[in-house]
Subunit: 305 residues, 4 copies
């Protein structure tokens, strides 16, 4: 079928390619003239035959909200907008109502798979009306991985359910990555295991911890066995934060996902104000560094506390 | 090759079968007369041709230590003992020295794969001398999964390295399971996603969180979509605890693995003494439940704190 | 000075008494006819001489927002409203602007001290304009504890800063209580310390952990040495959740405060969906409870994993 | 009474002074000739009248074990040794039996109070036989703070119970400090509170979070309002680690104390291997920094995940 695709960055560019390989006609729009197929959003809309389907794949938040607001003005009743970005699920109700007021359909679609999606396909979680989901199914079928549809695609529920499912997916992802990371560091810190990359490579088959993330860790260790070429500085995107917020809102204990998020926060701090406070307190009661408190000596020095 | 196998429980029974299918001659010993091939440890040893290889697959701790002590008396110089159980890595040095003193070889082998290992093969992590590892390689090759050897088998280092690697593997496993579990609970608690099992099933292909554990979760949800047939009561075996202890010993931050372990502890408590203390404190300062503290009223009741 | 006080619950009732003891004229309003001094909010306002000061001490959220909206209609330019409840700091900007539009002043005041405040005084954290703070200082001075003003009172910053400071105060409070609680449980679990209440009582003087909360724990243990009369079921109010949300928003690692919050969530669960998922996973890979997987025996049973 | 005191470091030096002020005769021994009263341990023992009481106040671990072994040789039946250092409670059984075999008494005493103990007194938790405790009570009474004995002193149980109680005390201390620290950082990170030290100072009276540690934080902020003169690098002593280990051994959930410990570990890492692993994984699946993965553009760039 024919699809308009707004946003041809790391994700959208590959998705256009995958859709085209599957025989779909994709007209892409991006502000980058080197990759775009249309001169403007208006031009994109003009190039599509009604009823149109436009997939939005731009950064979450303001860029997505603005793109959808513009599409609300440009599209016609009966058209369909799909937000495939990492939007917060609370935006979907707003978008859905804005477009619904003009009789334009709306679906939210959480997309997982990263740069591997071009070859492997993308895991898809969709929110919105069943009949709209059905209408866009050829697109979903082209984007999702080979195999049974239900193993790479879900109609998760009403508007917002797709992004909510993706948010939780990413929260889990934070926890999984941190679990492997802690294990890696412990193997590394204890000198007993002499070939850490070999051990992790050996976990790929037969073990309980085998996973795609593990395969990627093996891949990373192949080119950099000590991971020395990287710094332990880790960004976080919105989903991890939102997952913790939703857990708090729903009184769901989420110690692992929040610990993984906080580890990322800490990884970006040059120096921790909190730990300065702890150091200050130890100094205050234990006299650590307060040399006038009393003569210290070899056998005689017992740590205060 | 010929192998003696002590312990024919859930793991050992299946391993004997897998080894036999691969053409090895396995003589198993178990106290259970219905499954054993030998009348006693002595009988097992008598039935093996020197130099013997005996795989020990009995519960970690005292049973394993005792079995190895008995084997030390029964075996002869040049024989080889492999401990495939979930022993603490610190036992391996002791076992290695005990057997080494009698010129009996020793390998420790962490084995992962559970009840699926019979069909899928087992992930193996081995500690000990390279030449002993080489000698037992036909056994390892039969037990490990199909595919490249290094994706299901590693010689991790000297004695203890195999069990250390397995310990860390299980610590990671705790974190992975807890991450999925928190995500499952959050999907369940928020009413937005109307078909939680469908969402989790859809994560099996293409997504970042796909894994064998996820496949197992899908499997569990197939027969029990709300997991209502189970109680949230979770045992822990030694490895999770040891992983946290080793992290503490090596000053490795392990917030995720420890949080997963503590969640299991809490799952087994009818009532938490710690939370009773928190409840008592709130009562003390906030007068929660101390009705004589002051007249309360509708609009007038502001929570103390 | 003269003060109108809306809300005579657990907190407001005691505050009226403390203010009166200090010689202030307090006219209280509460829906409960047994404690109120005024028949209605209108009556309260009528009874106050302009320029009026009205302290709002009703439950956070809708009740407070509604009370302030009503006061905005009833009060006159030059009057002053102080919200002393546990409102979220984000409400203060709204209230401040609503009232400011009518030239009514607004201060937000975080109040700590619980049922003990009547005798001990209340710790106060105030947000808003300095001149309004100065104007209400006689009230603050009467409510705060004896001793230097700056040890029980702070002008924390502009509108919202008082409630923000109180929110963080309560977040810390969660962490402190949980720390004592974990220590209590560990003392209790290990049988070595034969008189746990005596040990905790002995921490009241000289030690690093001495605090008012510790004094309260000692008090609780006096009447119930095992804390057996209570259940380990702990509510949470908004501030703990908001603290975690703000930490997430500001990328501040808050592992301790969030762990304390999650422990409360878990304390209220009859059964944990997350832990059911973990139990289901262990069952799937380890065959725990799946008896057909293989004959188990005494020495032969090695735990799968 | 007469007391021998081995170790005149930060703690022992002050304790000698406090005991002398109380009228006790203290003969101190330290390897530092500037502070010692005796030339050697032998000399110390010679200077004491039988039955002797010797307080050991040297660093935990090997120094303490060695000192006690030497005293076992030098002392006579009927003498008494008190270990006041931060020894692990498991050492106490060993020491107690070693000395008991020579009919020398043994008490373990956890001592809290830091450099402030000289003036404020020390919180004391003692393990051992009641009659030995009674015998040394004049010393305990001189060291403990003014006020009721039971508020600064406890006979916690048999040998080891004193150090166990002190270990838990320190574990709690870790949690308390981290709770304050997280609150401090959050106040600091949000720009709303304009005078953070003023807010913390105002928590000293009337609030729920008032404590001695809070007073010390106020003190630290007085001289360094942003805590800029310090680095967020925090050591840990044995007790925090042992507390987590004991919690794990007794299946006691200790999320707060362990989080506080792990925060210290992380504070000392230049770069985190675990976070390098997370960064590597994000790079692998999201193409972060792998620029050849696909053309990126302005509006078109949607974060992969």
């Amino acid at each position: 079928m024919q699809l308009g695709l707004v946003g041809l960055g790391k994700m959208g560019f590959n998705m256009r390619e995958r859709l085209r390989r599957a025989g779909h006609e994709v007209i892409g729009y991006d502000r980058n003239p080197e990759v775009t197929d249309a001169a403007s959003l208006q031009d994109l809309v003009d190039k599509l035959a009604a009823p149109r389907t436009v997939w939005v794949m731009v950064p979450a938040g303001e860029p997505t909200r603005q793109t959808i607001a513009e599409l609300a003005d440009l599209l016609a009743p009966g058209d369909l907008v799909i937000d495939g970005g990492n939007s917060r699920y609370t935006d979907d109700k707003i978008n859905s109502e804005l477009l619904g007021g003009r009789r334009i359909g709306y679906l939210d679609c959480g997309v997982s798979g990263g740069v591997w999606g071009l070859e492997n396909g993308y895991g898809l979680m969709v929110g919105g009306d069943a009949e709209l989901v059905e209408r866009a199914m050829p697109i979903f079928d082209a984007l999702r991985p080979e195999g049974p549809r239900e193993e790479g695609f879900a109609h998760a529920g009403p508007a917002g359910a797709g992004h909510f499912a993706k948010m939780v997916h990413n929260g889990i992802e934070y926890g999984l990555m941190q679990a492997y990371a802690e294990g890696f560091e412990l193997l590394d810190a204890a000198d007993l295991v002499t070939d850490v990359p070999a051990v992790i490579r050996a976990w790929q088959r037969g073990t309980v911890v085998r996973s795609w993330l593990l395969d990627l860790l093996v891949r990373a260790l192949e080119s950099d066995p000590e991971l020395d070429d990287l710094r332990g500085y880790v960004e976080d995107s919105g989903e991890g934060r939102w997952t913790v917020e939703e857990a708090v809102n729903h009184a769901v204990p989420a110690p692992v996902i929040s610990a993984a998020l906080f580890a990322r926060f800490a990884s970006r701090q040059e120096d921790s104000p909190a730990m300065r406070a702890v150091a200050a307190l130890r100094n205050q009661f234990g006299g650590h560094g307060v040399h006038q408190a009393g003569p210290s000596s070899g056998a005689g020095s017992t740590q205060a506390g």
